[in-house]
Every structure is written in C-alpha cells, then in structure tokens.
C-alpha cells in the first residue's frame, strides 16, 4: 500500500504543472469531496497531495475576450455573489442556490465539482447547456501548455473525466450569451438543502416568437454522466411551443434518459420526473 509521500502547496500554475508531471498526484481544492471520499475509503490519496489554493491563476471570475472565465478555485459562494454571473449567466445562480449548504458552498469549488464528475453534480447540467469548455493545463515538455475541451466531451463515467493524470483543470470558459438567450435549471430533491439531486434539468437556447433555437438540453442523475440530450434538443429545435409540441418533447426526453434504481429514486420515477418537469419547464418557456 502506497502512503502519501509528500504534501505540496505550489504558488503558481507553472509549479503545480511541474509536480503533476509525475502523474501520481491527488489534487486538493475545497476538500469537501476529497475528505469524505478519502476517509470513507472510496478514494486513495496518491503519493503526492497537492493543495492548489495558493495558485492565483486558478482564482477569480472575469470577462476575457468575449467569454466569462471562471477560475477552477472559484467557490460556489463566490459564483453566487458575482455581479458578472448575475448579469450574464443567471442560470448558474439557480444551481448555486440549491447547492448543499452555506458551509459547503463557502468551501466547494467549481473546478472540484467538475473534476469530481458526479452524474448528479449540481453545476454540471447548467454548464453543459451553456456550452462551457474546460481549460486544462500541463507541462508535457518543460513548458506550460493549455488545451480546451467542450465540457460535453469531458465526462466519461461516474467520477471519470478526460483530464489526464498530468493535467490540472485551470478554469471554465463560457461564451457571453446574446440578449435573447434563455437558460433555466431545475433540480429535484426531497429537500432544498444538502440533497443529491434525484434528477436535474437544464434547458437553453435562443428564444424568439415562442420557439427555442440552437437548443441545449442536459439532464443530471439519469445516466452514468451528466448528459446532453440530442434527441430532446432536436425535438425542440425551432418549434413553436404549443401544448402538442411540449407533450411530444417531454415524451422524447423520458425515453432518452437511462436512469438506475438507487436509494434516492427508482428508474421509473426518475423517468416520470424527467417527463413531467421537462413539460413544466417548457410551459414556462412558452409563457416568457
């Protein structure tokens, strides 16, 4: 059994990427997932435990060339209190509002929520419908390099992502939405606080004359990864949202998800929730 051999707290992205070259590094950000997972034996901390809290390049929320960049270390509380997010990406506030508890929101980071890759991760569904991209940093041959990847391609299974063992998630990038952009999120749980979602739904697109175009639909907690729903998107694309269309889209949505039975709900119930809440959300779209 390997023990933790070193603890490091680099103060630059450059240094962090250097440590990551060994590939045997567990990254510590907010700790709210890492601590219970490691103490509960579900995750083993690798040879190096690296605290990334002191890396300025991973902090802050700012506009950068037509995009909003949210640093990987931005906490859920920081996102909730950000004027930029309030103005441009209010759908993220809907997800933050029902994210765990005040204590956890004060510690948990957006980067951690993304890298933890829970199918039920609260921020992931809204980020998917916003076409967010992940920004990954590494030092493959002695100099710092970055690559970007659509978030929709990032998740490969529960807790599994395409982040390589020598890579660090530096931030999320989201194009500034135009004026008639519509985006809403809904999380269903038995209580608003500290509940892992039974299902969650994000719907976004350009809203004009009661129809959505460039539609993005994503579902949480109904597949091994937070998923985009291309069939549901196609059923919605450009259609005027009358009752018949809404019914038809909700049916497509119910059939597109592949949930499992677990302690929070049965697969059947999750499918019903997807159907009924998709319908309810589309009725809201039709009225706005």
């Amino acid at each position: 059994m390997t023990e933790i051999e070193q603890y490091v707290a680099p103060s630059s992205l450059e240094q962090a990427a250097e440590y990551l070259r060994s590939g045997e590094v567990t990254i510590l950000a907010g700790g709210t997932d890492l601590m219970p997972q490691s103490q509960g034996g579900r995750l083993k901390i690798k040879r190096t435990l690296m605290n990334i809290h002191h890396i300025p390049e991973l902090k802050g929320i700012a506009i950068d060339g037509g995009e909003i960049r949210i640093g990987a270390l931005a906490t859920i509380t920081e996102i909730m209190e950000s004027d930029l997010i309030k103005k441009h990406l209010p759908i993220l506030l809907e997800a933050c509002d029902h994210f765990a508890s005040d204590q956890i929101r004060n510690a948990a980071t957006l980067g951690g929520n993304v890298c933890n890759a829970s199918p039920a991760g609260d921020m992931l569904v809204p980020l998917l419908v916003l076409d967010a991209e992940v920004e990954l940093a590494s030092k493959p041959n002695g100099s710092l390099s970055r690559r970007r990847m659509p978030l929709a391609e990032f998740f490969v299974g529960p807790g599994k992502t395409r982040r390589g063992p020598t890579e660090l998630l530096a931030g999320l990038r989201i194009a500034l939405p135009p004026a008639n952009h519509y985006a809403r999120f809904f999380k269903f749980g038995t209580r608003p606080a500290l509940d892992i979602s039974t299902i969650s739904i994000g719907i976004a697109g350009m809203l004009k004359n009661g129809a959505l175009s460039q539609v993005r639909v994503a579902f949480g907690a109904v597949a091994p990864v937070p998923m985009r729903a291309p069939r549901t998107e196609q059923a919605l694309e450009g259609k005027r949202l009358d009752a018949a269309v809404i019914d038809a889209v909700a049916d497509v949505a119910r059939n597109e998800v592949t949930p499992i039975d677990d302690i929070r709900a049965t697969a059947w119930y999750r499918k019903e929730l997807i159907h009924n809440i998709t319908k309810r959300m589309l009725a809201h779209v039709a009225q706005s």
């Binding site: 709210t32 005040d102 956890i104």
Partner: protein
C-alpha cells in the same frame, strides 16, 4: 506512519503552530492535536454542521477541511467566539429563547448563526432557515433557534448591540 506537516495559523486571534497528519481533518486537529473540544463531530461528511468553524470569516465544515489547509489562515472556533462582543447577545438569545436542548448541535449552530448575522444582518425568518439549512438539530424543531437568531438580527438593526 502517515506523513506529518507543520503548519502555522491564527486560532481565535492567537498564532498557533501545529504538527498534523497531512490527511487529517481540521476538526481532528482542533479536538485531538490542539485540545479544543467545543467543536463537535457529528456526521463527518458535511451533513450536520456540528463542526462548523469560521475560516477567513467564512463558515466551513471543519470535518471536510484538511488541517494542512489551515496554514496561513484565520480560524475561529466556538471558544474564540466567547471573546467576541456580538457573541454575548447571541448566547443570551439562545438561552432566552430556549434554543439549546441537548446542546450537541449548539456550537456549530452558534458559529453558523454568527456568520449569518455578520453577512446577512437583514435576514428574516425564511432567510435564517435557509442560512442554517446545513445544521441539524434533533431536539428543538428549529423554531426556537430561528427565533433566537432573528431576535439578535432585529436588535442589531435597532443598534441595541454592537
């Protein structure tokens, strides 16, 4: 043997040094290394809030925080709140409203309440309920706790307490 690491931080206004296991929680450090047992272990996974402390002015679950991450930061526990003038009003309000029964959730509840009062002095009963949703109490039914916090908030608003 687990790896140890030396840290230095401010604890209740005083600079402290400690040697901690790198995978240890801040809660275990407070209780077992430093010997401050006011902060309670409830669930160990951030559900109950009994271990709430303030770090750099923000309330956190100390059971979810790595002790090494306290390095260089400003940590306040329930013991430290005793030196804060505002805590007098909060403590009195908890007593007056009968917001303490078995008492196990109380340190965490009071820490979260103090954070809530500091950040949302205008919070009404509904906002207070949202603010303490990360703290479980199995005795009071919460009403007395919400009333206690609301009474401090309205007193703060009227300028009756510092």
């Amino acid at each position: 043997m687990s790896l140890n690491h030396d840290i230095e931080f401010t604890l209740n206004g005083v600079t402290r040094r400690a040697t901690v296991r790198v995978n240890m929680s801040a809660l275990d450090m407070l209780r077992e290394v430093i010997g401050l047992t006011g902060t309670k272990y409830g669930c160990g996974e951030g559900e109950c809030g009994a271990c709430t402390i303030l770090v750099d002015g923000l309330s956190l679950n100390s059971c979810l925080m790595f002790a090494v991450d306290c390095h260089g930061r400003d940590v306040v526990t329930i013991e430290g709140l005793a030196a804060d003038a505002r805590a007098d009003a909060l403590r009195a309000a908890f007593v007056e409203h009968g917001a303490v029964q078995c008492g196990y959730c109380t340190p965490g509840m009071v820490m979260q309440a103090s954070h809530l009062i500091a950040t949302h002095p205008d919070a009404d009963a509904e906002a207070i309920k949202r603010g303490i949703e990360g703290n479980l109490c199995r005795c009071t039914g919460y009403k007395k706790i919400v009333d206690a916090i609301a009474s401090v908030n309205s007193a703060v608003k009227q300028g009756a307490t510092p």
